[in-house]
Amino acid sequence: MRITQGAFSFLPDLSDAQIASQVQYALRKGWAINIEYTDDPHPRNVYWEMWGMPMFDLDDPKDVVHELNECRKAHGERYIRLSAFDCSHGWESVRLSFIVNRPKTEPGFRLERQEGVGRNQRYATKSYAVDNPEGSRYR
C-alpha cells in the first residue's frame, strides 16, 4: 500500500528539485521548514521525531534539501515529511506538509474490530510495522 498522508501522496514521489521548489514557495510565504521522521505512520500519530529544530532562519532551499539528505542517510528506511509552519496571527500552525521519503515496502494497517453492544463495533487501526520495536520496523 501507499500511505496517502500529506499534500502530494497521490503523485509520483517528488524529486529533490521538486522538493526544493515547494520549499521555495514556503519560504516566500515566510514559513519555517521542519523535517520530521517516524517509523509509526499511524494517521493519529501527530508527533513525528524532529530532525533538529524548525529552520526558522533559513532562506535557501538548497540547505533544506541538504538537511533532508542528511536525515535520509540516518533514517532512509523511515517516513520523512517536510512541513512549513506559519507563525502569523490567526494561523500559528502548519500550512503545508508532504512526505518526502518512504520505506521500500509499506505494509500498511490492519483494522481491528471489537464487537460491542448492539451492532456497535470499536475499531482500531494498527500498523503492521509497529509489531517490531521502534528502530527495527522497516528493514
Binding site: L11, S97, N120, Y123
Partner: protein, 487 residues
C-alpha cells in the same frame, strides 16, 4: 442622495400627541447621525410602493425594525426612547435599479441580546419585511461591532484546528455527497462512502434531506458509514470522515443522533440550515463540548437569498453562521450548477475566512468587518462541479475550502473509487504546479493532461465531463458604481 433631505424630527410634547405621524418625523430619519463604533448597522434595499417617499419608507424600516408601531404611543416617554430608536442615516438610490434605495440603519447595541442569532434576526428581519408601504425589502449586509461579535462562541472547531485534527495541510479538502440522495439502503450507502474515501477523498457527505426514512433509518446509516470510514482510513493510512446528518424533528432527536455519532468515533456531524438559528447555536455548543466538527448545509436559503429585490442576502446569513458557530458552510462554487455570481461568492468566502474583511463594493461587502479572532469558518464549494474545473476552483478559492464533487466522483465511468482518485490526483498536481509558480488558470488544462498520463481514471474523467458547464446569468450580482456617489 444628491440632495440629502433634512431631518424633520418633531421634538418636545408635539412628538407625543396621539395619532399617526410620519416615521421620518418620529426620529427614525436622522441624516446627521454618526454611527457609534458599538452600533449594529444594517443595509437594506428598499423598494417603496409607488408614490411613497423613499426617505419615509427607509425611516419606516428603521422604525418597524426597532421601537416603532403605526401610531404614536405615550409609553415611549417611559423610556430613553431616542437611544432605542433605529436611526436611518443615509439613503442612496441603487445604481441601475430605478425605484430601489439603499437605506443605512444604525441600531444601539442595547437593542440586542448578547450571543443570540434568534434575537437579532427577529428584530432586523421581523415584522418589517411584511410592511405594506414597501413593495419589497432586502437585507443586503450588516456591520457587526466587535462588542457584539465577542458575545458569540464562533465556529466550534475552526479551520486551523480542523486541519490539525485531520493532519491535512496545504491543499483544499475533497468531499463528495453520496448519490442518489434518496433511496439507498444503509448497506449500499456505506459502499459508496467506502469507495469514495478509499479512492482518495477526505470526506463524504449525507445530503440535506437524508434523515431517517423508510429505506434507511439513521442508525443503519451511521453504523455502515463508520464501518466504511474506518476501513478506508486503514487502507489509506490517512484520517477520513463522513458528515453524518443529525437533522431531525426535535432537539432531543438531534442530540441522540449526535451522541451516537460521537460514540461511533465520527469526527464530524452535519445539520441543515432549516433547523433554525437556535438549534444551530445549540448544536455548535454541543460540537465544541464534544470535539466535533460541525458541517452546515444551507438547505432552504435560496428561497430568500436569491432574488435581489426581496429577502436576505447570503452574506448576512454567512455572517450570522460564523457567529452561531458552525465549522463548514456551503458558500457557492461560482462555476457549478447553483446560483453564485463570482464576485459575490468571493465576498462570502472572505466573510468566512478572514479576520478582518474590508469594505469591497465589487464583492458586495458594504462595511469593514472585524472578526476579532473568532475562529475561521471553512467554506464548502458543492454543486455541479467536476475535475476539469479544478484549476479554476483552486485559483478562485485557494486552499481553505472543501471542494465537493458528488456526481463528479460517483458518476465516473470506471467506478466511485476511480472518480475519487481522479479528483485527488488533479488537485495535488495543480497545487504542486501553483506552488512551483506556474499560472494554473491559463496552464490548468495542460497540467491536468500531464497528470492524467500517469493516472488513467483522471484521463477518463476529463474526457467524460470535458464539455460540461453551467453558463447562466446570475440573479444576484452586486449593484455598485465605483464613483464617490456610492463609494
Amino acid at each position: 442622495m444628491n440632495d440629502i433631505p433634512k431631518a424633520e424630527t418633531v421634538r418636545g410634547k408635539d412628538r407625543y400627541k396621539s395619532g399617526v405621524m410620519e416615521y421620518k418625523k418620529m426620529g427614525y430619519w436622522e441624516p446627521d447621525y454618526q454611527p457609534k463604533d458599538t452600533d449594529i448597522i444594517a443595509l437594506f434595499r428598499v423598494t417603496p410602493q409607488t408614490g411613497v417617499d423613499p426617505v419615509e419608507a427607509a425611516a419606516a424600516v428603521a422604525g418597524e425594525s426597532s421601537t416603532a408601531t403605526w401610531t404614536v404611543v405615550w409609553t415611549d416617554r417611559l423610556t430613553a426612547t431616542e437611544k432605542y430608536r433605529g436611526k436611518c442615516y443615509r439613503v442612496d438610490p441603487v445604481p441601475n435599479a430605478p425605484g430601489c434605495y439603499f437605506a443605512y440603519v444604525a441600531y444601539d447595541l442595547d437593542l440586542f441580546e448578547p450571543g443570540s442569532i434568534a434575537n437579532i434576526s427577529a428584530s432586523i428581519i421581523g415584522n418589517v419585511f411584511g410592511f405594506k408601504p414597501l413593495k419589497a425589502l432586502r437585507l443586503e449586509d450588516m456591520r457587526l461591532p466587535v462588542a457584539y461579535v465577542k458575545t458569540f462562541q464562533g465556529p466550534a472547531t475552526g479551520i486551523v484546528v480542523e486541519r490539525e485534527r485531520l493532519d491535512k495541510f496545504g491543499r483544499p479538502l475533497l468531499g463528495a455527497t453520496v448519490k442518489p440522495k434518496l433511496g439507498l439502503s444503509g448497506r449500499n450507502y456505506g459502499r459508496v462512502v467506502y469507495e469514495a474515501l478509499k479512492g482518495g477523498l477526505d470526506f463524504t457527505k449525507d445530503d440535506e434531506n437524508i434523515n431517517s426514512q423508510p429505506f434507511m433509518h439513521w442508525r443503519e446509516r451511521f453504523l455502515y458509514c463508520m464501518e466504511a470510514v474506518n476501513k478506508a482510513q486503514a487502507a489509506a493510512g490517512e484520517i477520513k470522515g463522513s458528515y453524518l446528518n443529525v437533522t431531525a424533528a426535535t432537539m432531543e432527536d438531534m442530540y441522540e443522533r449526535a451522541e451516537f455519532a460521537r460514540e461511533l468515533g465520527s469526527i464530524i456531524i452535519m445539520i441543515d440550515l432549516v433547523i433554525g438559528y437556535t438549534a444551530i447555536q445549540s448544536m455548535a455548543k454541543w460540537a465544541r463540548r464534544n470535539d466535533m466538527i460541525l458541517h452546515l448545509h444551507r438547505a432552504g436559503h435560496s428561497t430568500y437569498t436569491r432574488q435581489k429585490s426581496h429577502g436576505v442576502s447570503f452574506r448576512v446569513i454567512a455572517k450570522w453562521m460564523r457567529l452561531a458557530g458552525v465549522d463548514h458552510i456551503h458558500a457557492g462554487t461560482a462555476i457549478g450548477k447553483l446560483e453564485g455570481d463570482p464576485a459575490t461568492v468571493r465576498g462570502y468566502y472572505d466573510i468566512c475566512r478572514e479576520d478582518f474583511v474590508p469594505r469591497n463594493l465589487e464583492h458586495g461587502l458594504f462595511f469593514d468587518q472585524h472578526w476579532t479572532s473568532l475562529n475561521k469558518l471553512m467554506p464548502v464549494a458543492s454543486g455541479g462541479i467536476h475535475v476539469g474545473q479544478m484549476h479554476q476552483l483552486l485559483d478562485m478559492f485557494g486552499d481553505d475550502v472543501v471542494l465537493q464533487f458528488g456526481g463528479g466522483t460517483i458518476g465516473h465511468p470506471a467506478g466511485v473509487a476511480q472518480g475519487a482518485t481522479a479528483n485527488r490526483v488533479a488537485l495535488e498536481a495543480l497545487v504542486l504546479a501553483r506552488n512551483e509558480g506556474r499560472d494554473i488558470l491559463s496552464e490548468g488544462p495542460q497540467i491536468l493532461a500531464a497528470a492524467a498520463k500517469h493516472c488513467p481514471p483522471l484521463r477518463q474523467a476529463l474526457e467524460v465531463w470535458k464539455d460540461v458547464s453551467f453558463d447562466y446569468a446570475s440573479t444576484d450580482a452586486p449593484d455598485f458604481v465605483s464613483t464617490p456617489n456610492v463609494a
